[in-house]
Amino acid sequence: MPSRTGAGSGRSLPEFGLLLLVIFVLLEGSLLPLGAASSTSKSCEEAKQGHTEVHNFTKKAFPVLGVDYGHIKNPFEISLWVLLACLMKLGFHLIPRLSSIVPESCLLIVVGLLVGGLIKLAREEVPPVLDSKFFFLYLLPPIILDAGYFLPIRPFMENLGTILMFAVIGTLWNAFFIGGLLYGICQISNSDLTAIGILPCLLFGSIISAVDPVAVLAVFEEIHINELLHILVFGESLLNDAVTVVLYHLFEEFSVDGSVTVLDGILGVISFLVVALGGVLFGAMYGFLAALTSRFTSHTRVIEPLFAFLYSYMAYLSAEVFHLSGIMALIACGAVMRPYIEANISHKSHTTIKYFLKMLSSVSETLIFIFLGVATVDGRHSWNWIFVTMSVVLCLVARVIGVVGLTFIINKFRIVKLTTKDQFIIAYGGLRGAIAFSLGFLLKEDHFHMRDMFLTAIITVIFFTVFVQGMTIKPLVELLAVKKKQEAKRSINEEIHTQFLDHLLTGIEDICGHYGHHHWKDKLNRFNKKYVKKFLIVSERSKEPQLIAFYHKMEMKQAIQLVESGGGSKLPSAVPSTVSMQNIQPKNPPATTKPAERVLPQLSKGREEEIRKILRSNLQRTRQRLHSYNRHTLVADPYEDGFSDLILKKQRMMAIDKKIKEMTNYLTVPAAAPDSPTMVRARLASGRNTDFIPAQQQKGNKKPSDPQSYNMKPVSGGVPTIQVDLASPQSPDSVRLLDELGEADGKEQEKDQGLTMKLPGGSSRPNKPGETENTREQQKLTRCLSDPGPSADEDEDEPFLP
């Protein structure tokens, strides 16, 4: 018992401290402005006095300490809010079970309510935090950009028809159904609701009908649903922005006029097309510009991420200028620029973009929900039972009917049909969020006298969907046994066969003369490869085929894992196995050649352990040597700047490789654990000998090899290595991790002259090729070694936004 209470108090202490911190921050925020009011007046007086002082020379003590809050008021308050949001996020995850029951969005709204209440008590007046301008210009873009940049293109495109159907027709249906029925109900009810015209009702319907991407993201992220459903609901929430924008402007305009004609309807449809396509066009344009710019950034790597952000934001703003759909512009920009930018920028910039986007979007999302809570407390509410409850009910009903009806039609055209379970989740996942609120907030008071009632209804619907649906969707998903997201990583076999399948299906379509979507996709790919890539990607990298790029990415990831795991004591592969390349190599028919393959004697296990230990310790030492950098340059990446040399070196290396292959059979060298899979794999992958060439050979001696006397600088063949050959000379992603130790030592030697690396002047023949190779190796800096950042990194190829 005492131990339990001890543990309990131990755990609650940090939380208690956190709580105190939060309260302190809040009080500071609310009290300081009060103090500011008095201090600013004081400083004014002092300033005036100061002027008169000059003339009167009244002796006054020099103010050692002064308070001037007004000076920094705005940035201070903003920072305070952001800090509060982040602390809240921290806090939720400290409380053990809360985060699994209640989705974060709900908690944040509650916090917002509390904070709003506190502020109201303290100051009698809440600052209008969810100012629509602030929301649309600063809070929304990061979230949408994050979504757009990491949008899984393949599932999105495959389901584009379905998504568009849901987004466009579903939203239209929702808007008209809700608006129309509400109008009817208002007319029936004998209260002052009858004053509301049809157009304001339709306007309200259009505001409330759009599924909100922020809310969907927030909730769906936590339930890990399968890819198809996720992309359907999420895609819908993104693409319905165009519809919402058009409907909103349409009804707002005409609510003032008071009537709608057929002409206006047609204009509305045209406007929709313009808004949607225009937004996409703007986004694509800026995306190309961004890709083009990134082609020339090889000398200024530090500002690369900025281009990605700035161009996207400009796309959003430009689209907003013309009342086009800014969200679609952002999505298009992110999706278009991503493949080209990723091929051009450095690994570090890539990581920066990723983490910065995640950080910004996370903070934005948190702030949005908190502000929603605060705005609720602040707003002038006009509660009308009938209107509010009916809007909630109608929202649900409309959504269900819409989804079921549309799925019925869509399933006729889909191959992978949507089952009832899927439909239920899609309907249930239609959450409303802050966009609806902001749109309602934008309504002008003088035109819409029922604005307060609308706002109340909107908030109620938002609360209902976020709280009730958000909280219950997770248990429902479990209950209905909906398929969850597959965690498995893409294997090389799957990748090969995906590509194979693409070509196969395109070929079959060609044979049948049927121009299906494989045909067009293939055409687009070929156009892309032939013209666009050459234009937008740094020249050397544009030719790399996708399969090779994928393979190199995978190898690099494994290499990083290997280095991180401290030198290969555990295998990087998911399945522990003792299969090695030896097992796979084609059996040579005559048995006589078999011994030749095993010319290398085995190393004893004990020896192998020692070797590993030594390698590991050296590896760790290397990793600690991080170079300091100033703000203007990161660690110099010599590898990335020396492409033209690489091609020559590569060719020279191939020649040397062949020579070494011949010499393999004549060297009697201790093999380092030939049955270590990665080792052997590395060996065979390169086709050359990567074993130790022990000390005496380095000295040019032809003494028989003594396994005991190796020194720490093997020319090649660290025991646990993954070797990735330069497949194409142009690929910077390929890592020549010949052995980390060799590299590391090479690096060290360049910088601090510590351990000797250079072999003595190559007198013996076997030595020479090794030496020339070595110098070449030294110059190749491995990206993964110089970038210790992404350790347990998620694969950006994964379909889900982490």
């Binding site: 049909k417 090389i492 070929g507 044979i511 049948c512 070929r526 196995s577 003792t578 299969v579 794999r681």
Partner: protein
Amino acid sequence: MIRKENLENIPALAENPIKNQIIEAFFDKRNQHGNEVGSFQEIGFEQFVMVMSHFRPPNLKTTKEEKQEMRKEKLRFLFNMHDTDGDGIITLQEYRKVVEELLSNSGAMDQDAAHEIADAAMLEVASTNVPQMSPEDHYEGITFQHFEQILKDLEMETRMFIRFLDVDTTTMHCGKATS
């Protein structure tokens, strides 16, 4: 009757990297759901449709077992495409050839890269299916079961299909009565 030259003359196929394998597949006797091996010299309409029937999509009424059957059938088709000598296993050489063909379209490329990738892929198949192998054992090649195992996540029955919007391919059963 169609011969190989007829298919090779289709202009659109010219840019396809695996053109030869595709054409081969039409003339492969193993794809006729019979038990023969070898290849035809020329095929008639029935054999053509037989090959095309491998690209049927499933529909709402397809049961789970039928889906499994379908998947197996499609995977078998792919397997036959890779296994060119018809011995029932995909050896390293054959797999290397597959990867080479896939990458052959991308311009100047050395064989080593293709070999590396093929080796890595083969290693993966072996590791997943036969995890514990001593250094003495020899992994002959990918059998059909291993092939199925390694590609089970790709959900072939929903990916490998040709959609003819105006023709209901479920009617093209070509003599085999199903559903």
